[in-house]
């Protein structure tokens, strides 16, 4: 067995990446940790069953296209007591023999390819790595087998960092584990819940790693920075996506020659369907932006089912849950349960003139009001999407972004996201967002601009809206 690749220089002058083995007892969430660290919900196979992973699988983490960290997912250790017994038996000269030598002897022996084949894979991988993360299911009791397991792993002669998984669970035995680890001289313990990863969990994890492996500290810090950068970029892209949706919806309108209530209703229905479709498109864009794949969403920890919102944005209850009061100026539409504004030309004209929109609006405004004036003369009504709906859309899409940011790629179960986040967001944006979107109101042509064909004016307005939402969103590193 060759010595670990520590500090080797490659032929191209670059340092070899840090090689890190993820080890632990069976069914402690090693593959889940891999999924979270690689942000790849498709990595390996995860099931609440012992021995799900039976092979060693490598994942590479990049900074600026350069591999800085290689993670090795290993099978779970299942027979540590028997293995330690065997190691003791094999080591005739007693425990004074160096650990790596004992491990190598075991790896060369026949049990390593029979009864302990899985354990041998782990140890073989550890002998080729710079360090190992020992993943602990904090819900398990500290048992003799775990102690024996640590004793075996410690023989490999590389730094071993305990990582307490599932600490967010009610039945976590964190204190007992900490005590047990301290007894073995392992004090730098990392807490990391793969299902509900802490906001700065990665930073802490790599930070602790950097302090233990100082020859790789620079790369690890670079990794943390690059991930933070990615997070910022992803959020800004997500908000642009939402802003574009809002600008479109705000511009949407329909002039109806109202003969009966059913005319109005069918026209409103058309508008509603459009908005629902656009929202769905926006949601699927957001999901792919955060690398959540549609085929995995059936059991995701999102307020969505199969990548779809379960509540209709035009349902008054949905808005109420977000703390948005329906009524006021939108009474006509809201009363019909349509979620669209019904405006008579004259009313809007007057209101717009009063707010000065007419003066600053330019040609677009005049054209817009010209149509309305015509509408008033001919008895036609104009339908548009209600301010509250826009606010509701903004709030719930932003809440989705927050949920996506905070969800680990290892999450396999769905939990309900409470409406609190949405209410907070809608309250924060209530006074500013509809005002901002007034510009878009005057541009019905924006509503039907194909994606990718946005005019500079559209883009500028969307940027403003995105900026407004960014101001109201919680900070990326804000604790929950």
């Amino acid at each position: 067995m060759s010595e670990p690749h520590k500090h080797q220089q490659r032929s191209d002058g670059q340092k070899t990446p840090l090689r890190l083995a993820i080890v632990g007892h069976t069914n402690t969430g090693k593959t889940s940790l891999m999924r979270t660290l690689t942000r790849d919900a498709r990595f390996g196979e995860v099931a609440d069953l012992p021995g799900t992973t039976r092979h060693v699988e490598c994942a590479q983490l990049f900074v600026d296209g350069r591999v800085v960290l290689e993670l090795f997912d290993t099978p779970g250790i299942e027979e540590p007591i028997e293995l330690l017994a065997l190691l003791d038996e094999q080591s005739r000269s007693g425990s004074r023999e160096p650990g790596p030598q004992r491990i190598d002897r075991f790896l060369a022996s026949s049990p390593a390819s029979h009864q302990f084949e899985q354990e041998a894979k782990v140890l073989r991988q550890m002998r080729q790595c710079d360090a190992a993360l020992f993943v602990i299911d904090a819900r398990d009791n500290v048992l003799a087998k775990h102690r024996d397991e640590l004793a075996v792993l410690n023989l490999c002669g590389i730094p071993l960092m305990p990582l307490l998984n599932f600490v967010a669970d009610d039945v976590s035995h964190e204190a007992a584990w900490r005590e047990a680890m301290a007894g073995l001289g392992l004090h730098a313990i990392i807490r990391f819940d793969t299902v509900v990863p802490p906001v700065d969990g990665e930073r802490l994890l790599y930070g602790k790693m950097a302090s233990l492996l100082d020859s790789h500290a620079t790369e690890l810090h670079a990794l943390v920075e690059s991930h933070a950068d990615d997070a910022r970029q992803r959020r800004s892209a997500a908000l642009s996506q939402i802003a574009a949706l809002l600008v479109r919806c705000a511009g949407l309108r329909r002039i109806v020659d109202v003969q009966s209530e059913s005319d109005l209703e069918s026209a409103a229905h058309t508008l509603n369907t459009l908005v629902r479709d656009w929202e769905q498109r926006c949601v699927s864009h957001l999901l792919s932006l955060y690398r959540f794949y549609p085929d995995e969403l059936a059991s995701s920890q999102l307020p969505l089912v199969n990548g779809r919102w379960q509540t209709d944005i035009f349902d008054p209850d949905t808005l109420q849950e977000m703390g948005i009061r329906v009524g006021g100026g939108a009474a006509a539409g809201a009363a019909a349960g349509l979620g669209v504004d019904v405006l008579l030309g004259g009313m809007t004209l007057g209101a717009a003139a009063a707010t000065g929109a007419l003066i600053g609006g330019g040609w677009q405004t005049f054209r817009h009001f010209g149509e309305q004036l015509k509408g008033q003369l001919t008895g036609a009504k104009q339908l548009r999407i209600d301010d509250n709906i826009l606010l509701g859309l903004a709030a719930r899409e932003c809440a989705l972004v927050i949920a996506l940011e905070r969800r680990g790629h290892a999450a396999r179960t769905r939990t309900n996201v409470d409406g609190e986040q949405e209410s907070k967001l809608s309250a924060a944006m209530q006074s500013t967002l509809p005002k901002l979107l007034r510009v878009a109101r005057r541009h019905p042509e924006w509503a039907y601009t194909k994606e990718g064909w946005e005019s500079p004016g559209f883009t500028a307005q969307a940027e403003q809206v995105a900026k407004e939402m960014a101001d109201k969103m919680p900070d990326l590193n804000e604790p929950r």
Partner: protein, 473 residues
């Protein structure tokens, strides 16, 4: 990727931008399988190169590369037609202008007719270079022009071209190049017209004015001669003629060539220079052109292409089959007293419900305890052995192996799974599944105390167990 070299630089970016325009409408990119190929083609993992290479592979698959080439050819054809028309217009314009003067060419009049508009437009173009603009106006103009270039994906290609050019401030230079070329053709037409007319017709030349003093014409002639003189074309022998009647043949020839030189110097040359400037600016700017990678679309694409992490490389494959323990029918006579073992149980996990009158419930966890227990079992050979397991702990092969070994030392083995804590119910199911797979009869896996008491009932006669109800079980 074959066309990578062909479609590099601006053309590649343009394709990418076009795909953004197309694909944001029908997003099938998630199903695109070429990601690994794209990564292989981009060893430095530069985000923009990744985005372009990814687009190229999609464009190739969808035939967009061919569309783009066709579009480009059509654009060049349109430009050539435009230039030809301009050439003809310049030619006929100059001919008509000369013809209308009936043999005597009024030089200032003719020059201003040929060069006047050209000068004015050149001036406007130069001024427009200094006006800050978002390119919206020029964008719309160019787009409306390009919209004529139909064809498959023609509109998308035009839109992609315009947005990319706008973002990289290429727009004025594109428009500039095209207009310089058209003007160049027009002025060339005028020069050709002058050449033709002066070659095949008899002309005299005059400098005429009604309002202006003669010195203005003098000044005009001298200043117009300045550039040709610098470039070695002399007009020293020329004198100002009033009505052109008394001109000698040489003088007329001299004036004719002077006029042609002036049109070339002040018409063709500045336009050529402007065209070269536009071309240089285009090449330079296009070399540093960038996609708007912060756009959600590109973020999505980079999310797939840019490896922040790659996984899935199996370095040590799984074995075909694992050696796992099985519960077997014990052999021999078992007449020892019934026994109970608390296996890997925490002290806090009580088993008060189980009262043992004879003997005690033994705790087993460590290696030594496990071995001692097996020795003890082999010595006592109990009729029934009950093992209490913590169902919250994940079962493993080591546990199963010990349980089978213990089971082989007793007449009958029963396993009791301690009641799980909240949230741990799933684990109990796993225990059951694994025990059943290891061929332990299903009824021997128990989860409630009542079942245990039933199982421990002596089948015939004596019992060493005495169960006592703990009230509400």
């Amino acid at each position: 990727m074959g066309s990578e070299t062909k479609r590099s630089g601006f053309a590649g970016l343009w394709l990418a931008e076009t795909l953004r325009v197309i694909n944001s409408v029908n997003a099938d990119w998630l199903n695109h399988k070429a990601v690994s190929q794209v990564r292989a083609a981009t060893p430095d993992n530069a985000p923009q190169t990744l985005a372009v290479n990814w687009s190229l592979s999609v464009a190739e698959r969808d035939g967009l590369v061919q569309d783009q080439l066709r579009w480009q050819r059509r654009a060049v054809l349109f430009l050539m037609i435009g230039m030809l028309l301009s050439l003809l217009a310049g030619f006929t314009g100059a001919i008509t202008m000369l013809d209308s003067q009936q043999g005597v060419v009024n030089i200032p009049w003719s020059l201003s007719a040929i060069l006047g508009i050209h000068f004015l437009m050149l001036l406007i173009w130069i001024i427009s270079l200094f006006i800050r603009s978002d390119g919206a106006w020029s964008g719309r103009l160019l787009l409306s022009l390009l919209a004529r270039l139909r064809g498959h994906h023609g509109a998308e290609l035009a839109q992609g071209f315009v947005t990319l050019s706008q973002r990289n401030k290429l727009m004025p230079w594109w428009l500039g190049s095209v207009s310089q070329l058209v003007w160049l053709a027009g002025l060339l037409g005028s020069v050709l017209a002058l050449l033709t007319a002066f070659s095949f017709q008899y002309y005299s030349f005059s400098w005429e004015t009604t309002l202006l003093p003669g010195s203005v014409l003098q000044w005009l002639q001298e200043s117009l001669s300045w550039l040709p003189r610098i470039l070695g074309v002399s007009s020293d022998t020329l004198t100002l003629a009033d009505n052109g009647t008394g001109l000698a043949d040489e003088e007329r020839r001299a004036w004719a060539s002077w006029m042609i030189v002036v049109v070339i110097m002040y018409g063709l040359l500045p336009r050529l220079l402007a065209f070269v400037i536009c071309l240089l600016a285009l090449t330079l700017r296009a070399r540093f052109a960038k996609l708007d990678l912060s756009h959600p679309y590109w973020q999505r694409v980079l999310g797939i292409c840019l490896p922040t992490a790659t996984g899935g490389r199996i370095t040590d494959p799984a074995p075909d089959a694992l050696v796992s323990a099985r519960f077997a029918q014990p052999e021999g006579v078992f007449d020892g007293p019934d026994a109970a073992i608390r296996f890997e149980l925490d002290a806090s996990q009580t088993s008060e419900e189980l009262r043992l009158s004879a003997g005690q419930i033994r705790e087993v966890d460590t290696r030594v305890e496990r071995e001692e227990e097996l020795h003890w079992l082999k010595a006592t050979r109990p009729k029934k052995l009950l093992i209490l397991c913590e169902s919250g702990n994940s079962p493993d092969r080591g546990t199963l192996r010990w349980l089978t070994r213990a089971g082989a030392c007793a007449g009958k083995l029963g396993i009791f799974l301690m009641p799980p804590q909240t949230g741990q119910q799933d684990r109990q199911v796993i225990w059951r599944q694994l025990l059943t797979e290891a061929e332990l009869p299903e009824e021997r896996v128990m989860t409630d105390w009542h079942q245990v008491r039933q199982w421990l009932q002596p089948e015939a006669g004596s019992s060493s167990w005495q169960e006592e109800s703990q009230g509400n079980v």
